[in-house]
Symmetry: C2
């Protein structure tokens, strides 16, 4: 099944293209870098998604965005010209909320992450705290005396870690205490991005924050972002997604394509991600070692599909 | 050479004890948990160190303390009743300073760590910045625009990471930029402690901060604390420490004892560390997997030595 090199959709004949389109019923697509850039649709991509829907495909948007609620992401999608129901947005925060609800979670959640995590939890009646700055102003011992206590620790039943620009030693100290005091305290994370690379700088990713905590507490977090299959386990279990008849579209090999492989899906890499072509070429230098990162198909932009049909 | 279980010095005959004392000329000893607790000497230990010196042993204090200068540690030692020359204190910060001096380092050092790192660097004329709070008050994009730029990045030739209670996302962002922009930028760390455990709480260790940065930048720091042999490489190279005739004393198997093994030294674990007996028992449950953490000898307290001779 896995190829040494992805097939470029541009090189398929009309017949091959029609066969390919008939090979899946469901499409999972990443958002940023595939559908839009910073909320602005990539040329021709809204039309390509419409075409897929016209052809009868069920389309889901699967994002690793851990700082926005499902509703926020849905608004971005609508604003960029994509017509998608809110329930078709699959995001780490909603995955975490559903996981807690399924377990009838009644304790508090400590959040190292964005306000969006809190609002999603509040919406389903789960109490939480943590987002925003938490800074150690005076002495470490004073902070510990004031903020690290067992009463609070016993109330906390889950620590959720996502992207947090206010990540701090004080937050590490608290998470370390809640997770260390109570072995049953859940430890969950939104996504696994090491770093976000931009042309002029890089921004540390959730994974960097998470490994710091994992190192202190000596256990691993359950992860709700791609490439972990957990994020669509429910969709597969319920039969809404049949892996053998599903296509995963993404722009990052080590996240989206690996996720596709982890779930047993067919995969398509698009070249509109900031780094996708560079990353693909690196991976293809050692295909045998990188088998799970190699997509089945490649297309310069998802927008090209309309021209190829 | 490695034992399934350490020999307890208390069970040696006078003759065996004398033979053991004749088996080494040099002693490297950890400080906190072996010599003192929070600056107060452990009962009988100053007398034990005096005895070793009377017997002709050369004694060095080897600490992983990455928040104090060598001079501060020397003052603690003197205040606790240990008569040791300042040059016999081996500490990560002084190791880092010597490493930079040996390379005629002329750029700036960015410190994620304590003020002590800056004062040791200033003392030898190396410019540095970083200690203290660095908090992201407004928007992430504004912070990046103001604080993350290439001019500064080109001036930074080393990033030093130590224990830092002011560790923050803003600091990660800067370190990530300096190390990412310039592959020649040195990346160094004081010590490798995952976490500091106390009865009522735990405090994240330097290693937790370090892995966060290593995850972002995709490379490993050169480490100047135990168990890395780097910290006494110079002592061995110069012949002042002859591994086969040297005893390492410590209270943490995975740091001090492993360090002893890494340097080819004989090892003695003391039971005065907060966690040493518990840790040893855990390790002895799987001796074949934990060979490098098992000390050659054990003694409840270093102070006991005076009674055994």
């Amino acid at each position: 099944m896995y190829k040494q090199k992805p097939k470029n959709l541009v090189n398929l004949t009309k017949g091959e293209m029609a066969n390919w389109l008939n090979s899946f019923d469901t499409v999972l697509t990443d958002c940023d870098g595939v559908l839009w850039h910073e909320g602005v649709a990539i040329d021709g991509v809204p039309a390509a998604i419409s075409l897929l829907k016209t052809l009868g495909k069920e389309v889901y948007f699967v994002t690793n965005n851990g700082i926005k609620t499902r509703h926020d992401i849905w608004k971005t999608a609508m604003g960029a010209g994509f017509d998608v129901p809110e329930t078709r947005i699959i995001a780490p925060i909603s995955g975490i909320v559903e996981y807690l609800q399924a377990r009838d979670f009644r304790k508090k959640v400590y959040i190292i992450g964005a306000e969006a995590v809190r609002s999603e939890l509040t919406a389903v009646g789960i109490e939480s705290f943590g987002p925003g700055p938490d800074v150690l102003a005076g002495k470490l011992s004073d902070y510990i005396a004031q903020h690290v206590n067992d009463t609070e620790a016993h109330e906390v039943g889950a620590v959720v870690v996502g992207f947090d620009e206010h990540f701090s030693f004080a937050k590490m100290l608290k998470a370390c205490h809640y997770l260390g005091t109570n072995p049953d305290c859940l430890f969950m994370s939104t996504n696994f991005d090491h770093v976000h690379r931009y042309p002029a700088f890089s921004v540390p990713g959730t994974r960097a924050l998470l490994v710091a905590l994992e190192t202190c507490v000596g256990r691993s977090a359950l992860q709700f972002g791609k490439p972990n299959a957990e994020i669509c386990a429910e969709l597969i279990k319920s039969g809404r997604v049949v892996p053998a008849r599903t296509l995963m579209i993404g722009d990052v090999c080590k996240v989206d394509i690996l996720f596709g492989h982890n779930c047993g899906l067919q995969t398509l890499l698009v070249g509109t991600g900031f780094n996708s072509v560079y990353e693909l070429n690196e991976i293809l230098q050692n295909p045998s070692e990188n088998e799970r990162y190699i997509p089945d198909f490649f297309v310069p932009s998802l927008g090209d599909i309309t021209k190829l049909v």
